[in-house]
Symmetry: C2
Subunit: 202 residues, 2 copies
């Protein structure tokens, strides 16, 4: 376990398609409001970008905070399969590491339901809910959010920036970019991280 590579995997925009579900339900709820197509999304916060086109953040929250929003997120292509393969690798431990939204009423239970539905009961035990990811101790954090901040200024993980519509033009510095769950992309990245870790451990 000690020498195992510990990988933390984010949910929204990495395993679960938050952006696609948001746009679909927003257009259904507000058919006469302006919207931002996925290929025009830029910047992590929907509210920030929608505010620029005159849409108040109340509307954004009304979509995200609705019962069923998180439960109905479609899986990101190849994510479930990749996760199962990754955790099957000898010497790799995988945890899910997700931040609930402020309005937790439906969000928290639905995240557990989603994990049970798509990954199964065993994976529910690997789920971590936290608003601060910097204090979770892993080797890698696969997450679509640029500039992850928290109480720990020097997180123990290295970030793998998972490509999402909103971060395609973000210029990485110390992060590794992972464009998709294509096995030819994630597997070498994991094996390389494992190699690096074993050369570090005394």
């Amino acid at each position: 376990d000690q020498k195992k590579l510990r990988v933390l995997v984010d949910m929204d925009c990495v395993l679960a398609d938050f952006e696609t579900n948001f746009l679909k339900r927003y257009k259904e709820k507000y058919p006469d409001e302006p919207f931002i197509p996925l290929d025009k999304r830029k910047g992590f916060y929907l509210t920030t970008q929608y505010e620029k086109i005159g849409v108040h953040n109340d509307k954004i929250y009304s979509v995200i905070n609705e019962e069923g929003f998180f439960l109905t997120l479609p899986p990101i292509a190849g994510g479930i399969e990749a996760l199962k393969e990754m955790s099957g690798l000898p010497g790799v431990d995988v945890f899910l590491c997700t931040s609930p939204v402020i309005n937790y009423q439906f969000c928290v239970k639905e995240k557990y339901d989603w994990v049970q539905k798509y990954l199964g009961k065993d994976w529910v035990e690997k789920l971590i809910l936290t608003r601060d990811k910097t204090i979770i101790h892993g080797d890698l954090l696969i997450d679509d959010r640029p500039r992850i901040k928290g109480c720990e200024h020097e997180p123990l993980w290295r970030q793998v920036l998972f490509s999402a519509c909103h971060n395609k033009t973000y210029k990485i510095s110390n992060e590794i970019r992972l464009d998709s769950w294509d096995t030819n992309l994630w597997l070498p990245m994991i094996l390389e991280a494992q190699k690096r870790k074993s050369s570090e451990v005394q």
Copy 2:
């Protein structure tokens, strides 16, 4: 932040009186079944001890998994006040670190509700739900459970064993024992830990 002492505080049996609520609701639900008085509780798992007196673990789970069980846990004496004082200390960051039960259906949301009810909205953002506490990066973990295990064999925190009915005779080794939320007990312990940390940091 870096030099701040990061304290992780467990919920059940430390801030929220799990054992008292269990016994109350178990006796209401199973008035003709044998029960274990709180002063006779020994060992972390209720199921293990109740099995010895002939009570099947299904009955234990039926109490814990019921809607409202976690929401109605009474606060442990002095805990809320201590937490608020502790997080007000300069140089101290406090997080809540709790493990949901396997049947998460009501447990997870009710834990968030409990925090909002007794501590307030700001504390909801400090709540971490995880089955594995060894991979949470803090300086201290205040928790009633002896022998906390997980994927990380050398957790970065030192445990403060919070006294509960079930662990009174447990013989500590590297842990510090905290008998209650009496300010005369927890405050010097925190200040001592802060002192030790500042002498460690380069």
